[in-house]
Symmetry: C2
Subunit: 240 residues, 2 copies
């Protein structure tokens, strides 16, 4: 793309700078999700603490990006179309920051869960769910980096898969609790971990929407993350 | 305040328009929270469905506000200080939209919970938690409407209270589950409802920060919502 004048060139440079910052934030958010699940699976409290510390860095990066955006808009006074692109970029940063928060929340539960010896098999489902959410996150960050939306529909399919797996995991965890009250504390924390992973998937879907908009200039209005369906779950109780 | 020139006057009018829209969104979010808790307490499925329907209206309002903000910035090209105020307004709209999502999620659980006859006493804790979160939400919306931050520290105190009550409710619900596996399904849904109310309180705290910034031009950087402390909870099991 050949810039038509100095102002356009400068705005373009600003947008590249923002894209670079988003890529950095995305890489960090990805590692945080990966490490939080890994800490959960291995009961690795040190790794969990790293995730908690990393969240401060991610929060700081988002605050700096917000400040930079204000300066860019004030200096360049972009037109409405460019403004919408800037706004989409802020939106991606917000989603990444939330993903970091969710990873941190998983990490914080590692301590409570690691005190239980019976949780090894129970965390496998979360691990699998986490793999799907991570693959989705990588996909949308790649799409953002390459400005290519050809594979973005895969994100939607994977979000369906995540929702289905989350629903079945939710049911399984409830059943475990009913079978043996000794599982209740662990399973409750795992339920919240699973919910966090499911929400990470939703934020990845939000990012897919923003990337689609940045690349094509069009809204994917039907491309909303599906609802968590576990609110309907009622599991038959052994003594009911 | 006497406007110094036409541009300032117009920007002022735009900000008043945004404030009016935020007040409308705030009123709707407040009603949604109120109704979702009320639907939960009374097992009122019709009221729960109204909350679910209202969420579409709130989402639409946020999307329109975002669009309006893009046009305001493009037309008025405000300076950095004014831009920060506009950004704070968008942030409030995002928090209100999230509060609506959380109320909707509570409403969706009403069906699963209402199928249980033994849940009447269990929802009382959520009702009380909801009262606190609602009082907090009203306080920050009043602060935004009156541009007065004199009572904004109360929001912080109340957030401490909400966190303490949520932590004790979480523990109580775990204990109920352990006492009788027939409570597990209901208590799990109530745990998520409680978590949603606690997050509504966090969003109210976010709004308090934004209002403080709009009114004073200064950041309340130490004014972050406190963390959910339930991730550490381990409840002694009857058979452990």
């Amino acid at each position: 793309m050949v810039p038509t004048n100095h102002t356009v060139k400068s705005f373009d440079d600003d947008m590249k700078f923002l894209a670079h910052k988003i890529a950095e934030m995305g890489g960090l958010a990805e590692r945080m999700v990966e490490n939080s699940i890994s800490a959960l699976v291995k009961s690795d409290i040190q790794l969990a603490q790293k995730v908690i510390a990393d969240d401060l860095i991610l929060d700081e990066a988002e605050a700096l990006l917000d400040e930079k955006v204000v300066l860019i808009i004030a200096q360049r006074q972009p037109m409405a179309a460019d403004l919408r692109e800037v706004f989409s970029t802020i939106r991606i940063a917000t989603d990444l920051e939330r993903i970091g928060d969710l990873a941190k929340n998983i990490a914080k539960r590692v301590v409570a869960i690691s005190e239980r010896s019976n949780s090894v098999n129970l965390v496998r489902g979360i691990e699998h769910l986490g793999d799907l959410a991570l693959a989705q996150l990588k996909e949308v960050l790649d799409a953002f980096g390459s400005r290519s939306v050809t594979r973005i529909n895969m994100v939607r399919d994977r979000d369906d898969e995540i929702d289905a797996m989350y629903t079945s995991l939710f049911r399984e965890l409830l059943t475990y609790m009913m079978e043996d009250p000794r599982n209740i504390t662990t399973c409750t924390h795992l339920l919240f971990c699973a919910k966090n992973v499911e929400r990470i998937g939703d934020h990845a879907t939000n990012i897919a929407e923003s990337v689609y908009y940045i690349v094509t200039g069009e809204r994917l209005s039907t491309f909303r993350p599906k609802e968590d369906k576990t609110h309907r779950i009622v599991v038959d109780e052994p003594n009911a």
